[in-house]
């Protein structure tokens, strides 16, 4: 026996082989042409569980996760209530497949329906897909939706949408003859609406969709309502790229008439995990339902009249429509959607508001502490819980602070290498878990390293 999860004993194998009329295991692989038949794998020897646990602990210990961190940039540290993992570690949820047999999958189906409902409440929209890979993929899918819906091929995206979301969308666009154009920003840190208006005005190159972040990649609040109006006036769809926790206190995409809202669901109860698995949020106006990629769960009844839930409108999906499907997505992020469902249910409206507003309060404290040390904000627009500051020689300072156990946010030059104005910018954030101690430590270390 070389692995511990299989039940077969030598006797079982013999009995089964005998039943199928073979003399050896090799007979099962006689269909593989000899010229391409492999004879094993050059991999390390298998480990017992104790040895495996040791190796994994060693690796985990090589990551440093105890830093005083001000890094956000699309992935945020939050307190995840213990209820979330208690539910996520139930085998009935995490070892089930896609609920193809609704009679014995009502647990998954109802939680997806609840997820859809909760995200509807947050976004003010009416249709929510049962999840996408992450914020980047959701943004790309939304951009493709605007193209399918309008039958136009040009999409405008603010340069202050999360860099990775823009990059991912660009990659997804490689397949078509599609255009993705970036809109500039102003000194306020918001998308240049004049430039938007101009880009929308070109009659030869009609725009399918306009994508703007709220808060945007600089942490700044955008004039979403005006941007949406401009987009709509030009016959384009308006896509809000939102951070979901902020929706507890900010105007909902439905309020400013966004057609689609997308975003990264990680802040809703999902661990940072070096980038995934995360949760791509995608919500839309109800009349876009047939353009929505991915799974949808609907309410219905069974033959006895009991309320029940089922995957529905499946004719959008790849297994039914193949090359005509709205997307190729199959496996999605169902368990992450469950995490966010339990998270929202646990926090409730008041708790979620405390998370968002508490982060805003901490961020103001951070702004104050940094300003007191002569480190000013770069943009003049309003922010929620993340903002860019200017320090002399950002990369050096960032590295020096790291040595002192402080993760001083993101050097924005990583994302905007060609932007002189952001050369010495650090994007810093605070959430409800940021402590005043850490803020004080940050500020005083800044003084040291800047000296």
């Amino acid at each position: 026996m070389t692995y511990g999860y299989g039940p077969n004993t030598a006797g079982d194998r013999e009995r089964m082989l005998g039943a199928v009329g073979l003399e050896s295991i090799d007979g099962l692989f006689s269909d593989i042409p000899a010229s391409v038949r492999a004879t094993g794998l050059d991999l390390p020897a298998g480990l017992d569980e104790l040895s495996l646990a040791r190796r994994l602990e060693t690796l985990a210990a090589r990551n440093q996760v105890g830093l005083a961190s001000f890094l956000g940039a699309g992935a945020y540290r939050h307190h995840i209530p213990a209820t979330v993992d208690q539910i996520l570690s139930r085998g009935e949820f995490y070892t089930a497949y896609t609920p193809y047999q609704p009679e014995i999958s009502q647990g998954t189906l109802q939680t997806i329906y609840e997820y859809q409902s909760l995200i509807c409440q947050l976004t003010g929209l009416d249709v929510v897909s049962a999840s996408h890979y992450d914020g980047g993929a959701a943004t790309a899918e939304a951009a493709l939706m605007t193209i399918r819906q309008t039958k136009r091929e040009r999409v405008l995206v603010s340069r202050a949408v999360h860099r990775h979301f823009v990059d991912t969308t660009r990659t997804y666009f490689q397949g078509g003859r599609l255009t993705l154009e970036e809109l500039p920003t102003t000194a306020e840190g918001t998308t240049d609406l004049a430039a938007l208006e101009q880009a929308l005005a070109d009659p030869d190159r009609p725009v399918a969709g306009v994508l703007i972040g709220q808060p945007n990649a600089f942490g700044i609040l955008e004039p979403m309502a005006q941007a949406a109006q401009l987009a709509h006036a030009a016959g384009a769809l308006f896509v809000a790229v939102v951070e979901p926790v902020s929706l507890a206190v900010l105007a909902a995409p439905g309020d400013y008439e966004a057609d689609i809202a997308v975003g990264e669901g990680q802040p809703l109860g999902i661990g940072l995990q070096y980038g995934g698995p995360y949760l791509g949020l995608l919500a839309a106006r109800s009349d876009l339902v047939r353009q929505v990629p991915g799974r949808l769960v609907g309410r219905t009844t069974d033959v006895d009249g009991r309320r029940a839930f089922v995957m529905t409108l499946r004719a959008r999906e790849q297994d039914i429509r193949r090359d005509k499907a709205a997307s190729n997505i199959c496996t999605n992020q169902a368990l992450c959607a469950l995490a966010s469902t339990v998270y929202i249910a646990t926090l409730g409206p008041h708790g979620l508001r405390d998370v968002a507003a508490g982060g805003a309060a901490k961020a103001a404290e951070l702004e104050g502490a940094l300003a007191a040390f002569g480190v000013p904000r770069i943009h003049t627009g309003a922010y929620l819980n993340e903002f860019a500051v200017r320090v002399p020689d950002a990369r050096r300072i960032h590295a020096a602070l790291l040595e002192r156990g402080i993760l001083a946010g993101l050097p924005l030059a990583d994302w905007y290498p060609d932007d002189e104005a952001l050369k010495d910018a650090l994007l810093v954030c605070a959430t409800e878990v940021t402590t005043s101690d850490d803020i004080a430590k940050f500020a005083s270390a800044l003084r040291e390293v800047a000296a």
Partner: protein, 516 residues
């Protein structure tokens, strides 16, 4: 193409009250449980003036309208819901093409280690050495298993891996100035994600028929191939559970036409250490860690779809790659490889899933993985043998990790369809196999037992299916009206689609000010 969603009047549906007995009772929804003023205390109360500096027009006007519950209700709700699910942890789940194997519990523990779970995705390399090392090592192992040159771990699922692979193939042809390749060829038995991927990547899909033996038709493929062919996507073993015996000839034909060969690796569980696609001539393939390497399916995800490529495609791998420099590990720097297709997602990958895959591979080692495939294939052939008197086996060839059986004869004789058989299996305590896929076999089921099920379980399942077949003769109505013993019975899917109800009604207006 648009549809307005009208809220159907479903008030006549029986809405569950409190749980009935131990066991699966239907549950109210969160909004039905909500009571204004209920709350938990999970985070500190925010200062009252926290939002004063936010301009009023940016602030949310309407109340949030989220359910208000306390913690005990939340737990009870989801625990009770969970018991309505069938799962690998509670029973046999022979869903073909899905590899519903056991999910080792140590892997769950590992992924939750704070060192892995709390690492920020933009953490500088210096503080992420553990995860980077894990990723690098995992890439080496997947390269060995695939017989390929290099691996990207970024794709979030198999279909995402397909898109990544096909975009790389596009980039490859483009880089060679070969702009005429606008088609992707797939066999008729292919999974829906293959043609859907081709479309997403801007290609036209060309479908070739399989032979009556369930093999890709070499002649038909050769005929379809040409200067417009960018790629051929083959699933090997195929979705019929069969190895492509002519794989060498097939690959030769693809390459002779100047096209590249993509392997859908969803079925790798059959051939670990038996067939290394890269070594055999495939140019690119994806893995589904949530199938072959036991990362949990999670009720539909998340998974991971690492993509392995041969030499030709290395320049086009998504950005950023993971490198080892001496003893240190690092992410590829911006601009380091301009030929890359770019990002296919945010950040570097679903590392929480990859930790589990890594743990799985290391628990097995090379020999263990070979045994996995041997046992998986043995289980499938054993079960196929047990069922061969009862159902038609359309293909004579030894099967790999799964097999197709057909109930066409039974349907002719009894009127009982495969759907009915599947539903009746639920009453017998089993999750049904995949049914009506692949599309090429009538009244079919695709049965994949996996290597983690005991022969007693296989026997019990075979006995159950044989009994259902008998029932189909003796009491067809019993089978046609199944399931009888499940939490709910057959659903009205037509109404669900005609009058979509995709959310509970808004709760606004019901909310109270934040208590205390």
């Amino acid at each position: 193409m648009t549809a307005t969603i009208e809220r159907p009047e479903q008030e006549t549906a029986q809405v569950p009250g409190p749980r009935q007995v131990v066991g699966p009772g239907l549950q109210p929804t969160l909004d039905e449980l909500s009571r204004p003023g209920r709350a938990t205390t999970k985070v500190p109360h925010a200062p009252a003036d926290a939002l004063e500096r936010i301009p009023p027009d940016h602030r949310r006007a309407a109340p949030l309208g989220l359910p208000e519950l306390n913690e005990p209700e939340v737990i009870r709700h989801f625990v009770n819901l969970s018991q309505l699910n069938y799962s690998v942890d509670t029973g046999f789940y022979p869903l073909g093409s899905c590899t519903m194997k056991y999910n080792p519990k140590i892997n769950e523990w590992a992924a939750r280690l704070p060192g892995f779970a709390a690492l920020h995705p933009l953490a500088p390399d210096a503080v992420a050495q553990g995860t980077l090392e894990l990723m690098w090592e995992l890439e080496q192992w997947l390269a060995e298993i695939s017989g390929m040159k290099a691996v990207t771990l970024q794709p979030a699922a198999g279909a995402h891996g397909e898109l990544t692979g096909i975009l790389m193939i596009r980039a490859y042809h483009m880089a060679r100035g070969d702009h005429e390749r606008t088609e992707v060829i797939v066999p008729d038995s292919s999974h829906g994600t293959n043609p859907a991927t081709a479309s997403m990547a801007g290609f036209r899909t060309v479908t070739v028929k399989s032979t009556s033996e369930g093999q890709v038709d070499l002649a038909a493929l050769s005929a379809a191939l040409g200067p417009h062919t960018a790629a051929v996507m083959l699933t090997n073993p195929s979705t019929l559970g069969l190895f492509e015996r002519q794989i060498v000839e097939l690959l030769d034909a693809v390459h002779a036409a100047g096209a590249l060969a993509y392997m859908d690796g969803a079925n790798m569980n059959a051939i670990l250490g038996k067939f290394r696609p890269g070594a055999a001539g495939f140019d690119v393939m994806h893995f589904n860690t949530h199938k072959t390497f036991s990362t949990p399916h999670g009720g539909g995800g998340p998974g991971a779809g690492p993509v392995a490529v041969n030499e030709k495609l290395v320049p086009f791998l998504p950005w950023p790659r993971v490198f080892r420099d001496g003893d240190a590990y690092r992410l590829e720097k911006p601009g380091e490889r301009p030929s890359s297709i770019g990002r296919v997602r945010s950040y570097q990958g679903s590392t929480g899933v990859l930790v589990r895959a890594y743990a799985y591979l290391l628990a097995h080692g090379g020999e263990g993985l070979v045994e996995v495939s041997e046992d998986a294939v043995l289980a499938a052939n054993y079960l196929r043998h047990r069922l061969s008197d009862t159902f038609e086996m359309p293909f004579a060839q030894v099967s790999k990790h799964e097999f197709v059986a057909s109930a066409a004869r039974l349907k002719d004789e009894t009127g009982v369809r495969m759907l009915d058989i599947a539903k009746r299996l639920i009453d017998k305590g089993f999750h049904p196999p995949t049914i009506y896929f692949p599309l090429t076999v009538e009244e079919c089921m695709l049965v994949e037992p996996t290597e983690t099920e005991s022969v007693e379980t296989l026997d019990a399942f075979a006995d159950a299916l044989i009994e259902v077949a008998r029932e189909a003769h003796d009491d067809p109505e019993l089978v046609k009206s199944a399931p009888h013993d499940s939490p709910v019975r057959r659903l009205d899917e037509a109404t669900a689609a005609r009058q979509p109800d995709l959310r509970w009604r808004a709760m606004s207006g019901r909310e109270t000010p934040c208590p205390g």
